[in-house]
Amino acid sequence: MTAKLTLRSLAQSFVVVALFAFSSAHAQDTIKVGVLHSLSGTMAISETTLKDTVLMLIEEQNRKGGLLGKKLQPVVVDPASNWPLFAEKAEQLLVKDKVAVVFGCWTSVSRKSVLPVFEKNNGLLFYPVQYEGEESSKNVFYTGAAPNQQAIPAVDYLMNDVGVKRWVLAGTDYVYPRTTNKILEAYLKSKGVKSEDIMINYTPFGHSDWQRIVADIKKFGSAGKKTGVVSTINGDANVPFYKELGNQKISAEDIPVVAFSVGEEELSGIDTKPLVGHLAAWNYFMSVDAPANKKFIGEWRRFIKNPKRVSNDPMEAHVIGFNMWVKAVEKAKTTDVSKVTDAMIGIEVPNLTGGTAKMLPNHHLTKPVLIGEVRADGQFDVVWQTEGLVPGDAWSDFLPGSKDIEADWVKLKCGNYNLKTQKCSGQNYE
């Protein structure tokens, strides 16, 4: 069965190669869609799923008769979890293959790496992963959550509904946790939390020896005030972290851990028993009981030929992004990037949790924020969700550097307009 998996992925890559050859001949009556996700290397675990998602969406669209009367044609490349290679492959997609749009990237560093390429060649990128914000490029649409669409509501939940008074901000040492924690720290202080009630801790990627840190958390949590952990710990480091929590008898009832990077896909690789009751904040959960979601999961499992395969938040982001792009292209009646980007603003498509996602002038989305408790079966029980949708905020109001910065591609025509100096700094596209 797993063997089959490989065979298929091999086959797929062959198809892709074939398509390359095919494309040159029939370039004119197809629209090329670039897929820029790592299929090898450390990020392959997460990104391969997104590649398959896009391929599925393209297949469906073609079944519906394509777009503007043309068939969509995927162009898949493998940046191999290598950041400079991301830039190189992006340039290849834009310059050599001349794709109309690119769906891709997971890590912030990969996005940062391709950003200049997209801006120079006026490409169009849909970025599907929750991230630290502090960015709004003319050529990028951010379909994942901004910090105010994940971190802050989660903290509100812990503060108001769980009554957490003491905070541990634990994260892997890279830009997303750093920024998120900076934002949260400022936010908590603005809510009157004293700095001795905040503990911040950073660990390297794939950190595996958590005894000391968990013990410290336990000590920190035994000061008589309700304590909560906000975890921006990334990927591999999570398993040993939760195992250690379980073993040191830190139950979710005493010290709940809310994670921003642990979703269904990640849980599928973990023995979830020690996690039960711990929390995650996302804009989508597979367990959400909505018709759109049921339908999507069904199609996904059919496409991937695995009745047990899970879905997750970044997949939803790609679904939304793709549908929005299709709508925008139909509206603009062309795939010309500038026209499409203009058309994108204000586009609304249904999300998978029964709401509607709207593209805002700052290239971010409106999203619902859901808090889920981990179940023994690796799924989440939604225990809380925001009333209505939260508009994504590119520039956090809680960071001194970005308080005065505003992103608006309609009125200001700028991704980082400084309200104080009235200047649009950065991002020069000559």
């Binding site: 090898s40 950041w83 310059v95 940062k112 890279y174 830009v175 390297p204 970005s402």
Partner: protein, 363 residues
């Protein structure tokens, strides 16, 4: 041999070298010309392709550096990517400073990543990098000094063979961990990116790319010839003598440590230069360049090409990287098998690499 004029000997003394230099010159002329052709022309060479070739050249230079230390001096360094990355960072810091107020926060002094981690002022080691000459100097000094310090300790206490290889690996590993830390003030995992200008020229402009390409080619030629000179000089013979029978060389009266150190440092500097040219062309430098596997890959380029022959190293670098970018595009799952097989096959069946296939191999 002594009859020939040394310069002739240097350039044409060896068939491989002659061929390599000829090819390099041709490429260095043809590529910019083709690139200059209008887009419409069938022969037009895109900036993308040219930059790609430029990147391969920096790899080739790195490979030459490794071949010098491994092929001729018998020191298997599994940490050369570290010197490459350090050179890259030095250049990256310069490019960072060139962004000036064009960063997203428009801060005249601080790079963006410092602003949103709300650092207040520039860390001391960032000073001076706004001047190109200083950065250029650092490209040489930083890797050089590291190599000097490390090599001095290592060779003086006669750490050799696999021990040396392992601690060089530990060195680059430690550096990787260090650079991943955001507290280092070098951008952490994201590293340095979003460059705008180099020496006042927009970094993405085709003309700049041509310039970078030519400079890379020149650097490769220079580095190659320098190594070639070293290897055919008497010093070169001594170095090879050390490789073959270290203690004997000592008894003849050679200060083995100094020779090793000299070559090691020089090789590190070459790696640094390669890195410095690599960064502006790929547009980013970050800690994953320090990954131990990168260093090992460089070694395999050399092994595939044929160690102990500088042009072999070049050939290997280009060959393996081309194969890599082909396979990762065509069938990603296959790449690691291919790479792994290469390691085994070369060491078992091709000890002298692909160039070894051609020449009559004396044991």
């Amino acid at each position: 041999m002594p009859s020939k004029h040394p310069l002739v000997e240097l350039i044409a003394g060896e068939r491989g070298t002659a061929i390599f230099l000829a090819v390099l010159v041709v490429v260095c002329v043809i590529v910019p010309v083709l690139h200059a052709l209008p887009e419409s022309s069938a022969l037009h060479l895109s900036t993308y392709t040219m930059t790609l070739i430029g990147k391969y050249m920096t790899y080739a230079l790195l490979a030459v550096a490794v071949d010098l230390i491994w092929g001729y001096c018998g020191i298997l360094s599994l940490g050369h990517a570290a010197f490459f990355a350090l050179g890259g960072y030095a250049m990256g810091m310069y490019l960072m400073r060139q962004i000036g107020t064009r960063g997203v926060y428009g801060d005249p002094l601080l790079p963006d990543f410092m602003v949103f981690l709300n650092w207040k002022e520039l860390p001391w080691f960032w000073h001076g990098f706004d001047m190109f000459w200083f950065a250029a100097l650092m490209v040489i000094v930083v890797p050089g000094l590291l190599a000097l310090g490390f090599g001095w300790l290592a060779f003086r206490s006669r750490v050799t063979g696999v021990y040396l290889s392992i601690i060089t690996q530990a060195l680059t590993y430690a550096l990787m961990l260090a650079f991943f830390r955001n507290d280092m003030g070098l951008g952490g995992n994201n590293g340095l990116t979003d460059f705008k200008e180099i020496l006042g020229a927009p970094i993405n402009a085709p003309s700049t790319r041509v310039a970078l390409f030519v400079v890379s080619a020149a650097a490769l030629a220079f580095g190659y010839l320098a190594c070639r000179y070293l290897t055919i000089s008497r010093a070169g013979r001594v170095v090879q003598a050390i490789r073959d029978a270290e203690s004997r060389a000592r008894f003849i009266g050679y200060r083995v440590e100094r020779y090793k150190l000299g070559v090691f440092v020089f090789s590190a500097v070459l790696a640094g230069i390669a890195g410095a040219l690599y960064v502006p062309q790929v547009g980013i430098i970050n800690p994953s360049e320090f990954q131990p596997i990168n260093s090992i890959e460089v070694v395999i380029w050399v092994a595939v090409g044929g160690r102990g022959t500088l042009y072999g190293a070049v050939a290997g670098a280009v060959l393996v990287n081309y194969a890599k970018s082909y396979f990762t595009a065509a069938l990603p799952e296959f790449w690691l098998y291919a790479l792994g097989a290469m390691f085994v096959a070369v060491t078992l069946f091709l000890p002298r690499g692909v160039v070894g296939l051609r020449k009559a191999a004396p044991a």
